[in-house]
Amino acid sequence: MADHFSRYHPVVNFAYFILVIGFSMFFLHPVYMIISISGAFIYSIILKGEKGFRFNIMFMLPMLIIVACINPLFNHEGATILFYLKNGNPFTLESVIYGVVSSTMLITVIMWFSCYNCIMTSDKFIYLFGRIIPSLSLILSMVFRFVPLYKKKIVTISNAQKCIGNDVTDGNVIRRAKNGIKILSIMITWALESGIETADSMKARGYGLNKRTAYSNYDFMTRDIIAVTIIISLGLFIIVCSILDITDVRYFPTIRFAGFSTINIFSYIGYFILCYTPVFITIWEELKWKYLISRI
């Protein structure tokens, strides 16, 4: 299944991830955590397929276990004592659960970030922040250009050095290392000098004189307006719920959290829709596509 959320406007993408990642860091309430981690899990599989699934299982599960084990060894709060450690400190049920909860929070955030990495590419980021931080986003876009350029340049220099027998493949280990450093050194000199030339060229073309205009590849369409409205109103709703202490949870000394009263269920539903928005969008677009194909 191809992802469709990434084709939305960068504002929609960014607002979504800010809210979801922020909430995932903030809420330690089990119901919210289950909603968030399942949303992140499903979405990462939509985005990366089998690779995403393997990553989640192979890296996240051991991480969850390791981090979960650290907490009860150091945290001795809690009312339900399971047994005593060798140094006389109690090993409590609450601290075990808290360990699992905090490590779940960690892997949820990492999973959301892995989705973020697929969706929020550098050009989207630069597009979003180009107005607010123009010089820095110019630096960022230059760095993104320079990295592959330098890699190519190193190959060119290395080929030239090969002609005079000074490549990294010539001679013994010490000579190879010396040649390698020499290639790097040539590359750095070239990078600095050509950088200055670029700067002079920028200046000659009027950099810094007037307000710069920016090429934009993104249109803010009706669907973007709808999506951003839904995402932001859901986010505000969840924030209101959290101010009203609905999302609160207490782990020590005993575990207490808000259960399933009407307003709670509404907040769960709201959070569910928020976390699953990209999944819903993808399913919706796929269905639409199937429907359109079937009509042909």
Partner: protein, 248 residues
């Protein structure tokens, strides 16, 4: 080398901007931490810690944006960051073995604390587009940046000189204590969600060898790169009249 390329050592005084930045780091951060402890009931550590770190970086970025940097300045920072990012990419298979800190220190020494900070923060941010963004990005940006910033200040103060031994020592200590020390606090906060000194000690213990490798790689890269790179940067500064253009 100092006599030969000693053009930057004109005054030992700190510029106004450096003082302002120092005040922000030394006074505003503690206030923010206290705000987290007393107003937000000392909960939500992860969130507060990330906010604080972002908050500390904003003044640098705003000052930089505010003074409408010249094209040359922008390009030089971009070139240095790109070298750091490409270097990190070249050694991606060895964990923690990265030249970023070395290049950041050299940038700080040659172009001042602000440039050092920017090269560090930009390298941390951009390289994570290749290695994966996460809550750690903010911490890495901060650690790299602060090392570059301190390198610039110490150099201006005359404590750090273009003397290889001192540079290597600064690289070793700053990577091990500043980078390692802060990054481990970050990973603890992310993992357990709160600050606990005993847990922090286990993180320091488990992270010890990673920090050793990282510090060793910084020393290694400073050893091979510092002389040639400082020479090149100084040459560029003289050739194109870039001398401390950012500090007027």
């Amino acid at each position: 080398m100092e006599e030969k390329y000693g053009t930057t050592q004109k005054s030992n005084k700190l510029t106004k901007r450096t003082i302002v930045s120092s005040i922000i780091i030394l006074i505003l951060i503690p206030i923010t931490i206290l705000f987290g402890v007393f107003v937000l009931d000392d909960r939500k550590y992860v969130f507060i810690s990330i906010l604080i770190i972002l908050y500390t970086m904003i003044p640098f970025l705003m000052v930089f944006e505010g003074r409408k940097p010249q094209a040359r300045e922008i390009v030089i920072i971009a070139v240095l960051s790109a070298i750091a990012v490409a270097g990190r990419g070249a050694f991606f298979m060895i964990p923690q073995f990265k030249p970023v800190v070395a290049i950041v220190i050299i940038s700080g020494v040659c172009f001042g604390g602000e440039a050092g900070f920017l090269v560090g923060a930009v390298s941390g941010f951009v390289s994570n587009f290749f290695f994966g963004q996460g809550p750690w990005t903010v911490w890495q940006m901060f650690c790299f940046g602060i090392i570059g910033f301190l390198a610039g200040i110490l150099f201006r103060k005359g404590i750090l000189r273009r003397n290889k031994i001192k540079l290597l020592l600064y690289g070793l200590l700053s990577t091990f204590f500043i980078y390692g020390g802060i990054i481990d606090i970050g990973s603890m906060m992310m993992a357990t969600g709160k600050f606990d000194f005993r847990v922090l000690l286990t993180y320091y213990a488990t992270g010890f060898w990673f920090n050793v490798i990282h510090a060793a790689s910084t020393v290694f890269f400073l050893f091979i790169l510092s002389d040639t790179m400082i020479e090149k940067l100084e040459r560029i500064k003289i050739k194109y009249g870039l001398i401390e253009s950012g500090n007027n």
